[in-house]
């Protein structure tokens, strides 16, 4: 792995590209900055009206949303059923705590394995066809788990009342309470972020992103698209599973709501509001949504969900790239150079103007050359 800063041959973005430091150094810097923000979350969140426990919840959902972006952002597949992974992992962890031991590591590992198997099965059922089928089917099968938890598995799940336990979870003997929980979650979040970024820049990540761009072309390049879809699905499921598991570490109670479509909907909403395919966006969306729910609600009461729903619709209609895209547009309008990369939003014509000075004629003339 080379560490030099190689200028890509013939960068067409104009000659004034600033010299970037070596990629691995830049990467370390980004991770460090991210870790800093995450680890200090309880403090600056409190400063803006939040509270410590909220920081933990935000971090948990950030993990959920991060994994979700690997599926939606990279491959473009919209799952409305990730609550299944979140909830099943939560129940698995809860049951582990209740009937086996309060060992967090063990519960996490078991949960991840269960989720991997579940994702494999659901993936076979839902991934064979195009995105529309997938969205509907994932919603349906998640609802199945919800219904099952309320009926067939009532004995284990506690049905409507939820699963309660008296075990105090512990990580290597360290009791999971207060800030301890937050740090465990924060560490996992940072690890998850590093992993996600690595996937994004890897050859695997390229294949996943190709699925979203043109899965037919990918197929006709000899790639088994289905297998890559499965991998993306399973990875995102495992992130959701870790999040669900941590939820129970945070608060030893599992509600059937964890399996409800609204939970699936929440991760979709936060990902889109934040900005899909940016990794950072969905996490920002998670923070925003939870902040809205827990802090802003105090001011505007029950209507917070309606306001959030309206924000969601407005973003889908007018700013599909989410907050991150909005942020970038502001930066561009102010003249601050953003990364000279291709847009992650399907219809963002701004980039065309950047390349007018190349000898390529603009594409919108419609002529062939």
């Amino acid at each position: 792995m080379t560490a030099q800063a190689e200028q890509p041959a013939g960068a067409a973005a104009g000659g004034q590209r600033r010299r970037l430091p070596a990629p691995s150094l830049r990467e370390a810097g980004i991770i460090a900055l991210f870790a800093l923000i995450v680890f200090t979350l309880p403090w600056w969140l409190t400063a803006i009206g939040g509270y410590e426990a909220l920081a933990t919840k935000i971090a948990i959902w950030a993990i959920f949303a991060l994994g979700f972006d690997i599926l939606l952002g990279f491959t473009g597949y919209l799952s409305f059923g990730h609550a299944a992974f979140f909830g099943v992992a939560a129940y698995t962890t809860g049951l582990m705590f209740k009937h086996v031991s309060g060992d967090v590591v063990l519960a996490l590992l078991v949960s991840i394995v269960v989720i991997a198997v579940l994702a494999a099965v659901l993936g076979v059922l839902t991934l064979r066809r195009a995105g529309i089928y997938f969205a509907i089917l994932t919603l349906a099968f998640a609802q199945m788990f919800h219904a099952a938890a309320l009926s067939i598995f009532q004995e284990w799940t506690g049905g409507d009342n939820g699963l309660t336990m008296s075990t105090k979870p512990a990580l290597f003997g360290l009791p999971m309470q207060g800030l301890n929980v937050f740090y465990v979650v924060a560490v996992l979040l940072v690890i998850g972020f590093v992993a996600a970024r690595q996937i994004k820049r890897s050859s695997l990540g390229l294949m996943l992103r190709a699925i979203k761009e043109n899965s037919m072309r990918l197929q006709y390049t000899g790639v088994n698209v289905w297998r890559y879809k499965m991998i993306a699905y399973m990875i995102s499921a495992m992130y959701a599973g870790v999040a669900g598991s941590l939820m129970v570490v945070y608060e030893p109670y599992v509600a059937t709501k964890f399996l409800h479509w609204s939970t699936s909907g929440e991760v979709v909403i936060m990902s889109v509001i934040g900005g899909v395919n940016t990794l950072i966006g969905p996490m920002i969306g998670a923070g925003f949504m939870l902040y809205f729910e827990n802090v802003v609600q105090a001011f505007i009461g029950e209507k917070w969900k309606l306001i959030l729903g309206l924000i969601f619709v407005l973003i889908v209609v007018f700013l599909p790239g989410g907050f991150v895209d909005g942020f970038n547009r502001i930066r561009r309008a102010l003249g601050i150079r953003t990364k000279p990369r291709r847009p992650n939003v399907p219809d963002a014509p701004e980039t065309m103007s950047r390349y007018h000075d190349s000898k390529n004629t603009p594409a919108q003339t419609g002529s062939d050359n």
Partner: protein, 275 residues
């Protein structure tokens, strides 16, 4: 796995034909293929041999059954009768990606590329697919600009004349350049057979000529090409052998000069000999 062949200009169809004649092998063998859809006979008793290393054109007016034949040729459609053998093995009923892995690359009527990815990324995908086969779990492998697959991509892009636009988003290319990009994607797969599905459809005269030049330029030894076309100019500039399809049957099959003078062909093309 960067190809060692330098950008060599093919001396012309004649020499390539000569070479193929030496090898004498049939790459694609179609025997007695028929296909019907809901009572309509799209193909009747098609017999066709494509010689290894040659440039073979399949032409015919619209509705002649070219698309159906194409899909049968690469195994996407199962013929009702007959057989298709590619490189000695049957080719029917396989999933598209498996067919491609056998050594076929396809250029589509409308250039199929990965719009939001850079040109280099576009071609790197093909290079990776060639290296890894249908699937590989490689989350650890970072694709920095100096990576061998990226370098291979840069090389292929250079060959088609897009070498100075590596970082550009593919969707910003003109249509003609998108076609070249697609060509580079196909080349990176080092296919045995390159299938071109009306590559000059909807192109201006200027662009068509550039495409012809490109096709001649990129000929790799041993790479067979099948061109589905109905632009005569393209066909007669490029092909060593021409098969003419009309209403599902082959009405002529031979060297371009032979086909050109064939009265049956003229009749089939009445009023639409060339653009």
């Amino acid at each position: 796995m960067a190809s060692q062949a330098a950008t060599r200009t093919e001396p012309g169809p004649a020499a390539a034909a000569g070479r193929a004649a030496e090898m004498g092998e049939t790459l694609l063998d179609v025997q007695g293929v028929s296909k019907s859809f809901a009572g309509l006979k799209a193909l009747s008793d098609i017999n066709l041999q494509v010689k290894r290393g040659s440039i073979h054109a399949i032409i015919g007016p619209n509705g002649a059954g070219k698309s159906t034949l194409l899909n049968c040729l690469i195994g996407l459609l199962r013929p009702d009768e007959g057989s298709v053998t590619f490189d000695g093995r049957p080719l029917v009923g396989m999933q598209p990606h498996k067919i491609i892995q056998r050594g076929i690359a396809r250029v589509f009527q409308t250039p199929q590329i990965f719009p939001a990815l850079s040109l280099q990324e576009n071609v790197a995908i093909a290079a990776l697919a060639k290296r890894d086969g249908q699937f590989a779990l490689t989350p650890h492998e970072s694709l920095r600009p100096g990576h061998p697959m990226m370098k291979e991509a840069a090389y292929q892009l250079e060959r088609v004349g897009l070498g100075d636009m590596l970082d550009m988003a593919a969707q910003n290319l003109s249509r003609g350049d998108k076609r070249r990009l697609e060509m580079a994607i196909c080349l990176a797969a080092h296919p045995k057979l390159l299938l071109l599905d009306e590559p000059t459809a909807g192109m201006s005269r200027h662009d068509t000529n550039r495409t012809i030049d490109l096709l001649q330029k990129i000929s790799e030894t041993g790479m067979t090409k099948i061109v589905i076309e109905h632009d005569m100019h393209v066909v007669f500039s490029l092909a060593e052998r021409v098969t003419v399809l009309h209403q599902g049957t082959i009405i002529a099959d031979g060297k371009p000069e032979q086909v050109r003078g064939d009265p049956k062909v003229e009749e089939a093309y009445l009023g639409g000999a060339h653009e």
